[in-house]
Symmetry: C2
Subunit: 219 residues, 2 copies
């Protein structure tokens, strides 16, 4: 992607390039990774601006002008419009592409899994990884981790049940519902979760990782 963009920029002699997305992100976060993965798979060039949220860089007065809710990721569109909320951005990127089914029911099912991810999964699985892996503060957050753990495992149970009889989350084809759920699930062990009891989830990881133009969270 970067290479293709560099060539395009060279041809047009551009230093500031319009017609390109800008992603404000905290690179290690699953929410930001969702968008890098989707944009790479869709062949959409993007520029990355990293904010270190462990240092409060998403709560500065300058960034609050970009997102009043003080969170990343934010995607700046080609026309300058800004979108926040990772799963809403995924929808925007995927609409009209093979990453979003076209039937009304399947589109609602994609949203169902994405709201499940933000309400019943991310607050327990992503936060554990943030406290343990990003902040290195497992001891400080022990009581919160203990409180969240059963809720995180409950979300994994729901996923395991679904994946026991389905290849992917909606319509048995890879979609943004898979991207949204893969992002934090595949690194849940960095937050102290064990995935040993989840064979269907592990098999699904392999299917996601075999998709064209897959990139890892570290990229």
């Amino acid at each position: 992607m970067a290479k293709r963009f560099a060539v395009t920029a060279l041809i047009y002699g551009l230093t500031q390039v319009s017609g390109m997305y800008t992603l404000y992100e905290y690179a290690p976060s699953g929410n930001s990774y969702k968008l890098r993965l989707a944009m790479t798979q869709l062949g959409l060039p993007f520029k990355r601006i990293n904010l270190d949220i462990t240092q409060g860089e998403s709560r500065t007065p300058e960034f609050l002008e970009i997102n009043a809710n003080g969170r990343v990721p934010v995607l700046v569109l080609e026309n300058g419009e800004r979108l926040s909320e990772s799963n809403a951005i995924l929808w925007y990127l995927a609409d009209g592409t093979p990453l979003l089914p076209t039937s009304k029911l399947e589109q609602a099912q994609v949203l169902q899994w994405m709201f499940f991810e933000q309400y019943s999964h991310e607050p327990f699985i992503a936060t554990a990884r943030y406290w343990v892996y990003s902040l290195g503060a497992e001891d400080e957050y022990k009581s919160k981790l203990d409180e969240n753990r059963p809720k995180g495992y409950a979300a994994l149970d729901v996923m395991e049940k679904h994946l026991t009889s389905n290849e992917f989350f909606v319509g048995n084809t890879y979609s943004i519902a898979d991207i949204a759920l893969y992002a934090y699930t595949h690194v849940a062990e960095q937050g102290g979760y064990s995935l040993a009891a989840y064979p269907a989830i592990q098999a699904w990881f392999k299917r996601v990782e075999a998709m064209d133009n897959y990139i890892p969270i570290t990229q």
Copy 2:
């Protein structure tokens, strides 16, 4: 709605009526109210089945077959398919109606506000109402209420800022983004929040309540 449905049922001599939505709900919850309000405004007949979540009625083996995540609301469609997650159901109901804008960007903005509602608003504002108003357990939950309060007010601040220069959340027309945010905000005081410092939110309440076929949460 009920009256019109009753007449239709009479004409066709039906006791069990297909071609009608069934809503599994906890009637006092804002998430369930969102769907009653949208279906009433869209003229869609529906049957209601109440589950008392304070008594664990959404976690029974029977209900877990309907929603493995053990939560209401769930909407059973005319063809027997089931959808969960209130905002995904709102999308399904509103798609193709005046309650959902048609442009790609505005649709993403609707989703942005609905994900904001489920991630940054509902966990702090709805839960407070549940502990204080539904369970009558303000003392038992005092430390959690104290912890959540600043996060709930932060969400209200984001809404107030937006509504200071906008009539509604997206495209200055009433949409499911307004329904999603109105549901718990207009009863936030039942969870101990004060809305006195939020004049733009209060003015927006009046605009929502003036819409055709508005019904209150108690209905």
